[in-house]
Symmetry: D2
Subunit: 110 residues, 4 copies
């Protein structure tokens, strides 16, 4: 019935996992821990990362040829978010989800 | 780091699976098959179902107590979508995803 | 070409205005002011309010009969958000946008 | 309270207007008219256009520096959508909203 390639399905899975991890972590861990976890630059990056992951997945599901551009942007923001989460520390789930999603999106974009 | 309960994580998974199935099926199978697959009532219901699933998952990730209301609405729309997909036929993936998501959301809403 | 009623278009406008005000205020004013502006309960409510407004508008644009249920939920969350913004203080734009959106959604839901 | 520049607010307004026009037109006019209005390539482009407009507005509201990349992509998809709507005909509202949004996003992206 559906005909999404295995590679694209794997990328959708990565995007939706990273969306969940970034949004869930921001709204629980970051808000409850406070301090540098809610510094504007970091928190905005977490929200931007979850949103671009959600949107990249959406474009793949829409079957739009523009999904490549969204995946390229997703890879960039995820890479930046992974670095910022490493800088803050105690955010290993986010770091891993972002790195893994960035790799998958980079392959999809090329 | 995150503290989402197993029950809620399972419901998020169901919602995001149903979101993917309904949106992906509408944009590929329904558009390419045409006929009653693109009749306004059916197609709108597919889009409404994918959107409420996406939103219910989002509210659980936001850790908002209002997620129960969104899950209740999600269960209703999924149930209606499952019936309409059965009526049209050749949409077994959607029927299953909608029924499974409805059951999970109904439990979460209570 | 389009045939959205005046009443529904006005409600979509209110929802998208409240979505903008809550999200924009949370990501600028609340994050930069800190203190009780980033207390988890308040910040989550701001995010939930912006998301339900975005979704209620989407359901009206989808032309789904379920928009009434989303509008009812939107009215509830907006009312709660207006009260919480009054409690915190210095958030007059949000208070007004939430109250105005709640009134419009309540009428649309009935 | 908020400090969004006039130029950015105008771009958010254009994006949310184009989002409404494309989504509302697709779900009413295109589905009800049928024929080439629901040909997969055209309909997917309408959905992709409404989604990128929604997302570009969201990134501006998030106050993320990545909004420039989303606005650039939004300008591209809107331009493509305007052309396809002209090709199909009887979609003047969409053509105008897409062209106007593309111009605003192109300026924001530079």
């Amino acid at each position: 019935m559906k005909h999404i390639s295995k590679e694209m399905q794997a990328c959708i899975d990565e995007c939706l996992r990273c969306y969940q991890t970034c949004l869930g972590t921001a709204m629980k861990h970051c808000l409850e821990t406070g301090g540098e976890h809610v510094e504007p630059k970091h928190f905005r990056l977490m929200m931007a990362c979850s949103e671009i992951c959600r949107t990249a997945a959406h474009f793949m599901l829409l079957n739009s040829p523009h999904h490549k551009h969204l995946c390229r942007e997703c890879a960039e923001i995820c890479t930046e978010c992974a670095k910022d989460c490493e800088r803050i520390g105690d955010m290993d789930d986010c770091v891993q989800a972002c790195k893994s999603c960035a790799a998958s999106c980079r392959a999809m974009a090329s």
